[in-house]
């Protein structure tokens, strides 16, 4: 029996491969497994090649994993187009369509897999259902049969999906699924490859969701009352979710005429006293930069989600990358520090978003949430969010006494001065992008500018002491360390667990607060280290460089960095660790 199974499938647009993946993850959620489903498409708007990879486990899944345990190939051309996204190894079980007319000993793979199964998928579908369209259900039957995957829940899913299409279609698809099951039963593996049953628990409470939806829900929980944005891949689903939901909670959503108007309207809503958010991806972040600067100078809370994709410019909109960190940290003119938070998976998108609102409100600052395409769009089965441990922060508002002689930008010890909003009697002031004195009146005084810069930058210092925004795992006195952030953190965490299980002493640091750099926390982490690798999905290794701007690093401080859309797998990271451990 297995505890963890990675299945990759590829075919043409009409083959129903992605739909089969969705059926599997839905069924897995109902039966109480954890799973991640990553879909990948060619650049065509419709049609073309499509693929998905599903990692199912009895334990929470940290990343989509590396080498496939099972590869399902509907045609070889499409499968091979996904290259490193669907890696086949010697242990992979390859199931492919007999119609491709490739002999099992001639499959076009660089590595010869141990098990190759040529199955007449289309023929079986036509025989069972009278149409080749049912072949994805033959595939589901095969997978359910060979790997013990959620049989009952899959059948329920098929029934639900085809209920409206009439009894004939439903019966045909039922027969197609049964044909797959039957084929698997008649051609058993020598060894049992079935997945263990899920851990007992309250399965019905599991949630199947993605990062964009979690961010939207987190925003509503945090008390967001306004969203302004513009459609952009891979962030649009945040706006779509909020458009559907936010009105129910007394908020509103503006699909603006452009990225600038989206963030501008959100700053306006914040000025009006409401919690506000915008969301975008790389090109949109570039466009929003000036207004983010306004939010910094006018000290108006704002959450800006940037779902990273391959860049620069249009780059690769449907692929993940972690290369917007420099832009998020530095793309404002003037002396500006804006906090950047990064979720590490679908599961923590909710609480990271809540935290982003809390920091924005507490410190009256824009906060950037750096998600990425991987987290944003993969489907993941997660435990429900335990909202009882989340607290909500609202901005400091002036009290009656402070409103008697209201001083919007009062200089004080914390740098956080009470913020009024239109409608509040006595609180009227001039908010501005222009430098101002304590009252808000425009100034060109160098002395006042320096004092206001002090206020705006120093007020964020307490953030750098927030241990709770960092995950540290492993051996405290290890000489080898890893650092990773965002969606790659799950890869690093798994690599460290594998290495430690193999007896290597190692520890890992995952910053959810990526910027400003928390010098003390890194310094403590570095104290025992001789080697440290920053694992990142960017060509330059941007976090690796940013850390070096602020902290003295260990002697051997390197980046294991790859451009976006080149998967980083736990196996590769473990290899790097082994190399250091045996050096």
């Amino acid at each position: 029996m297995l505890n963890d199974l990675i299945i990759g499938m590829a075919g043409s647009g009409g083959d129903g491969i992605v739909s089969a993946g969705e059926s599997l993850i839905n069924a897995s959620a109902k039966e109480g497994y954890f799973a991640i489903l990553t879909k990948s498409f060619g650049s065509q708007i419709r049609g073309g090649e499509s693929s998905c990879r599903l990692r199912v486990s009895t334990l929470p899944v940290l990343n989509p994993g590396g080498t496939l345990d099972v590869a399902v190939v509907l045609n070889w051309e499409d499968f091979l187009r996904f290259g490193g996204e669907l890696p086949v190894g010697p242990e992979t079980i390859v199931i492919y369509e007999a119609k491709t007319k490739v002999a099992p000993d001639a499959v076009p793979l660089k590595v010869k897999p141990a098990t190759i199964l040529c199955v007449p998928l289309e023929e079986m579908a036509i025989k069972a259902a009278g149409t080749e369209l049912a072949k994805n259900n033959v595939v589901l039957g095969l997978l359910a049969g060979w790997f013990g995957l959620a049989q009952k829940a899959i059948i329920e899913g098929i029934h639900k999906k085809f209920a409206k299409k009439g009894a004939d279609v439903l019966a045909g698809n039922d027969r197609a699924f049964a044909a797959g099951l039957e084929y698997a039963a008649q051609n058993p593996f020598a060894q049992d490859k079935r997945l263990s049953p899920p851990a007992p628990g309250k399965h019905a409470s599991k949630v199947l969701t993605d990062g964009n939806e979690m961010i939207g829900a987190g925003a509503i929980f945090a008390g967001c009352k306004f969203f302004g944005g513009y459609p952009i891949t891979p962030a649009s689903e945040i706006m779509q979710y909020l458009q559907k939901e936010l009105y129910k909670y007394g908020g509103s959503v503006l699909q603006a005429e452009d990225e600038i108007a989206g963030v501008a309207a959100a700053v306006g809503a914040s000025f009006a006293g409401k919690k506000a958010m915008t969301a975008t991806s790389g090109p949109g972040l570039s466009l929003k930069t000036e207004v983010l600067g306004l939010s910094s100078l006018a000290e108006l809370p704002l959450v800006c989600v940037n779902v990273q994709r391959g860049g620069p410019s249009t780059g690769m909109p449907t692929k993940p990358e972690q290369a917007d960190l420099f832009a998020a940290a530095f793309s404002s003119h003037g002396d500006t520090v804006r906090p950047i938070l990064a979720p590490i998976g679908v599961a923590d998108c909710f609480e990271v978003t809540v935290e982003a609102f809390n920091i924005a409100e507490q410190y009256q600052t824009p906060v950037i949430v750096l998600s990425d395409q991987e987290i944003a769009q993969r489907k993941e089965i997660v435990d429900p969010v335990d909202t009882s441990k989340l607290k909500l922060v609202d901005r400091l508002r002036p009290n009656a006494q402070e409103l008697e002689n209201y001083t919007r930008f009062k200089l004080n010890d914390t740098g956080i001065s009470p913020l009024s909003h239109p409608g509040m009697k006595g609180g009227a002031y001039l908010a501005a992008g222009i430098e101002h004195n304590e009252k808000g009146s425009p100034t060109a005084s160098g002395e006042m500018h320096a004092r206001m810069n002090d206020k705006r930058l120093n007020k964020l210092n307490p953030l750098k002491k927030r241990q709770d925004l960092f995950i540290i795992e492993g051996d405290a006195d290890a000489t080898i360390g890893l650092i990773a952030w965002g969606s790659i953190a799950g890869v690093a965490l798994e690599a460290v667990r594998i290495a430690r299980a193999a007896g290597i002493k190692i520890k890992v640091l995952v910053p959810k607060l990526v910027y400003p750099v928390a010098e003390d926390i890194y310094r403590d982490f570095f104290a025992s280290l001789q080697h440290c690798i920053v694992v990142e999905q960017s060509h330059q290794g941007q976090l690796h460089k940013i850390i070096r701007m602020w902290v003295d690093t260990p002697k051997n401080f390197t980046a294991f960095a790859k451009s976006g859309a080149n998967p980083i797998t736990p196996e590769e990271v473990v290899q790097k660790i082994r190399a250091l451990a045996t050096a």
Binding site: A29, S205, K206, V207, L208, T209, A217, I220, F221, F226, G228, Y247, K248, Y249, G250, S252, L254, A256, E257, D258, I260, A261, A264, A265, A266, V267, G268, A269, F271, A272, G273, K274, A276, E290, V291, G293, L294, A298, F350, P384, V385, T387, S388, S420, H421, P422, G423, M424, K425, G426, G427, A428, Y429, L430, A431, A432, G433, I434, S441, P442
Partner: protein
């Protein structure tokens, strides 16, 4: 509004123009048309009678965009060209506020020009005042989007070789429900236009030909404008006739018409009203906040 100190109810208090004047001293050059504009705004707001703290006055960047600071309203002097989207965000978040947006011709029709059609088609209840001086004054006299062809400036030494935007025609063409033009030389008329614009339930636009005394045409200053102006009411213009309004607006740059070009006699429902309706209709579907995401069955 129920969740904070804001009050949407019309107040019985009465206000004088001076109640809207702040203590901040304008940076405008002596003789600038904008002095007349801000005075007209004070008078209009006094007549409207909303307390200053229930007014949000948003501007972009430019000489004229300094105007919110000279009022006692909540002001927001934002970034270049973005007054309208920011004002819309404010109105959406807090629909009971009186929201004014203002800026110059460069702010509204050059860098921010892309926002104007969308503000109009959405039709939030916002009043937009453009102080149109056909020049970039703050940056010392360059060509603006409303400068006449042939205008010589430091950035058009040989005379402008492009045609100007016609702000009135532009706004009328996109379907604004209230379009007017005034001049600071006619203070009574301007104050009344601004008041009417604010009272119009929807997006309202007032183009104010507010001359620049430093870089503008010396022949076209406040007094000269007053002599040139032709009141639309004197011409017997029917302000419910949109096509006739567009015809008159076409004379922008040659004739100085003042008054209301167009007022939609049947103002459609505003965007902010639709939002309130959606919030009301959808509120019963709200889930407990700890159950926002559950597994669909």
């Amino acid at each position: 509004m129920s969740d904070d100190a804001t009050c949407s109810c019309p107040t019985p208090d009465t206000y004088a123009a001076k109640d809207f004047r702040s203590t901040l001293k304008p940076i405008w050059c002596p003789g600038c048309g904008d002095f007349g504009v801000v005075s007209a705004v004070y008078r209009a707001l006094a007549n409207i009678g909303r307390p200053p703290h229930e007014i949000a006055f948003i501007s972009g960047i430019g000489c004229s965009s300094r105007i919110p600071g000279y009022t006692t309203a909540y002001g927001f002097n934002t970034v270049h060209g973005r007054a309208l989207p920011i004002a819309q965000g404010i109105k959406m978040a807090s629909p009971d506020l009186l929201v004014l947006a203002a800026g110059g011709d460069g702010d509204g029709f050059s860098i921010g020009g892309g926002h104007v059609p969308h503000a109009i088609r959405r039709n939030l209840d916002i009043t937009y005042l453009v102080m149109d001086n056909q020049i970039y004054g703050l940056t010392k006299g360059q060509l603006s989007p409303t400068s006449a062809r042939g205008t010589k400036t430091p950035s058009s030494l040989y005379g402008s070789i492009e045609d100007p935007v016609n702000p009135l025609l532009y706004v009328l063409a996109y379907g604004a429900g209230f379009v007017a033009q005034g001049i600071p030389g006619d203070m009574d008329g301007l104050a009344k236009l601004i008041e009417e614009a604010i009272r119009y339930p929807g997006f309202a636009f007032v183009n104010i030909q507010s001359p620049c005394i430093t870089f503008g045409d010396p022949e076209n200053q406040v007094k000269a404008q007053k002599a040139k102006m032709k009141k639309l009411t004197d011409l017997g213009h029917d302000s419910t006739n949109r096509l006739r309004a567009m015809d008159l607006a076409s004379a922008y740059g040659t004739e100085l018409y003042t008054g209301v070009f167009y007022r939609n006699p049947n103002p459609p429902e505003t965007y902010d009203a639709r939002i309130k309706q959606m919030q009301h209709d959808l509120a019963p579907q709200a889930k407990p906040l700890d159950q926002l995401l559950t597994l669909a069955t």
